[in-house]
Symmetry: C2
Subunit: 320 residues, 2 copies
């Protein structure tokens, strides 16, 4: 790996490898468009997000402003929402990458440094996050009944509530990460924000330790992540039980044991070895089934792009 590789280039490549990874059941990938979402829109979104990613990799803009700029550029190019969730994860990862509080470059991108970035997020970052929803339609679940005034679909109108209550972006995401209702599926991207990105760093190691083209490794990591936990977007657009069953079907494709019968496992319980032996041929059938059933595990794809970014920073290379 070239020591001087630009983290913004790595983030762009992570977005491209994520959408190219195939099969990623239920998602747009190199071999599949969805009815209302095309592969080329993701190429446009990855290119359009550039300015926001560049801002994230400097200290000239806040994390919230960088995110909003990335979403606006993505939406302008793609004409639709392609990578909103990916950017929510990549922006703090980029900021942690360039944070020079730790002196060694190798130490810059760790759970600790990215956790510090999210702890540093402000109320203004929360306001920018809400503004980002004005650039594009994002599929989200209704908020809990007692948090209607924090519905992200309010966009800028939520600013006064955020300021009155002094809620930072991390505070806002903490609500989605840990819903009071046990029947609600937590927002995985929000969980990453408040938990130090455990899924991202774990899946990055799955990708690094795997072999073959990065697009295949990304597809296997996607299956591992989906097997581990029900997908937020599937729960929001169907229901939590559908999301749990989708994860159990992904778990059945992993190598070893019979995790399928047990339903989704914990992330911690999924071993790299099972991910590396995931059956991509069988995943082709699941991809067809998920598309037919309208099951779109988009949050799991977001996590996959974040994991690819960390894997690239740690030396993963495209296959020549």
């Amino acid at each position: 790996m070239s020591a001087a590789r630009d983290p913004v280039d790595d983030a762009t490549l992570a977005l491209l490898l994520e959408v190219a990874g195939t099969p990623k059941p239920g998602n747009v990938d190199r071999r599949r468009d969805l009815d209302d979402l095309r592969f080329e829109s993701f190429l446009g979104g990855a290119v359009g997000a550039r300015e926001g990613l560049e801002l994230a990799a400097t200290d000239e803009a806040s994390v919230g402003d960088a995110f909003e700029r990335g979403v606006a550029g993505m939406a302008d190019r793609a004409g639709t929402n392609t990578q909103f969730g990916c950017l929510l994860l990549l922006v703090p990862l980029l900021r942690a990458t360039v944070d020079d509080t730790d002196s060694s470059p190798a130490g810059r991108l760790t759970p600790t440094t990215v956790d510090r970035v999210t702890r540093d997020a402000t109320v203004d970052d929360a306001v920018a996050f809400y503004r980002a929803f004005e650039h594009v339609d994002v599929a989200v679940a209704d908020p809990p009944a007692d948090a209607a005034d924090l519905d992200v679909r309010r966009g800028s109108d939520a600013a006064s509530v955020l300021r009155d209550r002094g809620l930072t972006l991390r505070d806002v995401l903490a609500i989605s990460a840990d819903p009071d209702d046990p029947d609600r599926v937590p927002d995985r991207n929000a969980q990453e924000w408040v938990e130090g990105f455990p899924r991202t760093f774990r899946a990055a190691e799955w990708i690094r330790a795997d072999t073959g083209p990065l697009t295949d490794r990304a597809a296997r990591a996607f299956l591992g992540l989906l097997a581990a936990e029900p997908d937020t977007l599937v729960a929001a657009s169907h229901d939590p039980e559908t999301a749990r069953r989708a994860s159990a079907r992904a778990a059945a494709l992993l190598g070893g044991g019979d995790p399928g019968s047990a339903g989704p496992a914990d992330t911690d319980e999924i071993h790299a070895d099972s991910v590396h032996r995931a059956d991509l041929d069988a995943a082709e059938s699941l991809a067809t089934a998920f598309v037919d059933e309208g099951i779109n595990p988009g949050t799991t794809a977001d996590l996959t792009s974040a994991a690819l970014y960390v894997a690239l920073r740690r030396g993963a290379e495209v296959a020549p």
Copy 2:
């Protein structure tokens, strides 16, 4: 279209849409890898070329240095040659885009302005062009017997010959564009350099006037370009007759008439209407046949990326 779109982003997107365009018979595309060349390498190459493309869009570097930097970055990321020819076309197109000799932005990217850029190329640009061959293996034909000292595979060793003879980059490419031997297939990329990019601008209009996803439009433009003229890389890696027959087979897929029996037509003779009615289903079979026969019309893919860039600058958009 956003008026403020960054030409470097457009060039990156052109590289991505080119490789995603499918079917492009004989080339890597969204649905096909070749044995020794993968789709993900092209994603890496497009990202790695960024710094060179940025230099091309400023006046801080010469056209030759920007090209060499782009090739070096591409090779570092892709680990192989993915877009050498694309970059040779995109670099002067980018320079023409930002040239402010013409006052109106709309007037900046025309055959006239890009011709001025190539006329301004220097001996140093030629030396940089030769250096670029040291970063990566590029498939080229043997030079004419009387030009062995100008074999591009000599790399930096050719510098003294170039300087002694005062050959600019345009002079060097003029030799490949118009070989004395009538049995040699001219280098199409070199022809673009010395002729004001007629294939690029013509195919850009095919793409702009076409409908549907840009990846489909790119595939149809590729067939039109291949039908019009034998591919340089096919001639170099097989022979001119194989290249002519490959073009005739592409011509048979265009709409209207029976151009297939007549062999390749002139670019001027191919009408947008025939390109827009190209049969992409039939092209799938041709793609399989070309891969089986080892026919790789890579120069035609280079022209397609250049045409996509011009089409994007003139308002073409990815499909939402």
